[in-house]
């Protein structure tokens, strides 16, 4: 796994975009007719949602490649993507809850997409826990890849079942479409989170790679080999 600086650059660019997009959305974008200023939460909520799904889809791809091709690179990226996905999902649920309170008067409105995210959060957090309990690196790689595939396949099933379950009661959902006047801050923030996550997932994958290499490296002998320059 490389040592170059590109992830830091990418992440930094992402952060810069996020600052730009957020300032625009907070102070310069026009007020929405019905939701007023509360609608501005969308400028961070929607980009987080898109990227959470993107990162978890990348995790799924890494899992499939890890199972089919093997090698430690895909496993390292898998670990990074699952952790990133958990962070974004947790953030998403928090944002959704904060949005729901002034809008619907409740902290949770059982919106199908948000509820699916909550289920996903628990599923992938569980996979991180699984990873922490397996000592054998080969088994760890195979099992977490299998678990990620199984959890990801579940996503459409969870979404449809919850949507259906919720439709029998009053359907209260977060707005899907944002009118055209509001697109720019949204797009900028979306790319901001994207670049940030690309950089962070790569860095986290390097961490996973180094940890695994440290795991299987033979124990350093005392002094001698180091002194003679053999290590």
């Amino acid at each position: 796994m490389g040592n170059s600086r590109w992830p830091f650059v990418t992440a930094g660019l992402g952060l810069a975009l996020l600052v730009w997009g957020s300032v625009w959305g907070l102070f310069y974008a026009p007020r929405e007719v019905y939701m007023g200023d509360v609608q501005r939460i969308m400028y961070v909520h929607v980009p987080t949602a898109w990227n959470a799904m993107l990162v978890l889809t990348f995790a799924f791809a890494c899992a499939v490649l890890s199972l089919l091709r093997g090698g430690w690179g895909w496993d390292a990226r898998l670990e990074a993507a699952v952790e990133g996905g958990v962070v974004l999902s947790a953030l998403l649920c928090t944002q959704g809850s904060i949005w729901a309170r002034p809008t619907w008067g409740v902290w949770w409105d059982w919106d199908p997409r948000l509820t699916t995210t909550a289920v996903l959060l628990f599923a992938f957090a569980g996979i991180l826990a699984l990873r922490g309990f397996v000592d054998d690196p080969v088994k760890r790689a195979v099992w977490t890849a299998v678990a990620v595939v199984i959890a990801y396949v579940d996503v459409p099933l969870v979404y449809f079942s919850v949507r259906w379950w919720n439709s029998l009661h009053q359907l209260q959902s977060t707005p899907e479409t944002v009118s055209r006047a509001f697109h720019w801050p949204l797009r900028i923030n979306a790319f901001g989170v994207l670049f940030l996550m690309i950089g962070l997932v790569e860095l986290r994958a390097r961490l996973a790679w180094q940890r695994r290499a440290a795991e299987s490296a033979p124990p350093l002998p005392s002094g001698v080999a180091v002194a003679t320059g053999r290590l």
Binding site: F122, G126, L130, V146, A147, I150, F160, S161, W165
Partner: protein
Amino acid sequence: MERTRARDAGRGAGRERSRLSGFLAALRKDLLLQWRTRAQFVAVFVFGATALLLFSFAIGPDAAALRQHSAGFLWLGLLLSSTLALADSFESEVQHRALEGLLLLPADPRALYYGKALANVLQLTVLGVGLVPVIVVLYDAFTARIPALLAIIVLGAAGLSAPGTLYSAMTAQMRARNTLLPLLLFPLVVPALLAAVKSTSLLILGDPMGQLTSWVALLVAFDAVYWSLCGLVFERVVED
């Protein structure tokens, strides 16, 4: 390496027949095992029934509310009991190191999986059927549509059993297994749980809008996806 070669040699001849006979042999072994440990099963049943009792204490003696939510209680009780039942399913294999022995046989590991998963479906179905009289008594939750109820219990049990057997095989080989199995399983089976609860609820409370078939279809879809997927990956989970 030798294991794969031995397995492939056995597979070469009469592949289809060996897969089916492997499956039947695995099923027979697991059913026999379950019969021999039926005292444990009784304990799991008592656990489930106790859970149902505790749910009613959580709600209060409101007969209407209890009846309204009886389907949910039944499936929650069954879900909680299933973690005990499923956790035990690979217990003997791991304890007596029988897993490696089983994998050396020229039988498809998939046959092993399906045999055990089917045995688990049977066990969970018996458990579910056993808990029905409990909800009839405790929550006044009766339905005349017995065959439909049985079908839903079987389908729901199948939904729990497919990923449950896979994760049981995984967690049986590691520490903290009793925490990890429910942790991994519960978020996964949400669609099956929702569908089973809604279907059962419609049977108990009535189905004026004819939604039952749709929910059952969702349950069948979940079962189809996971019975094929888990069988496919099982080999990777138990290989050495």
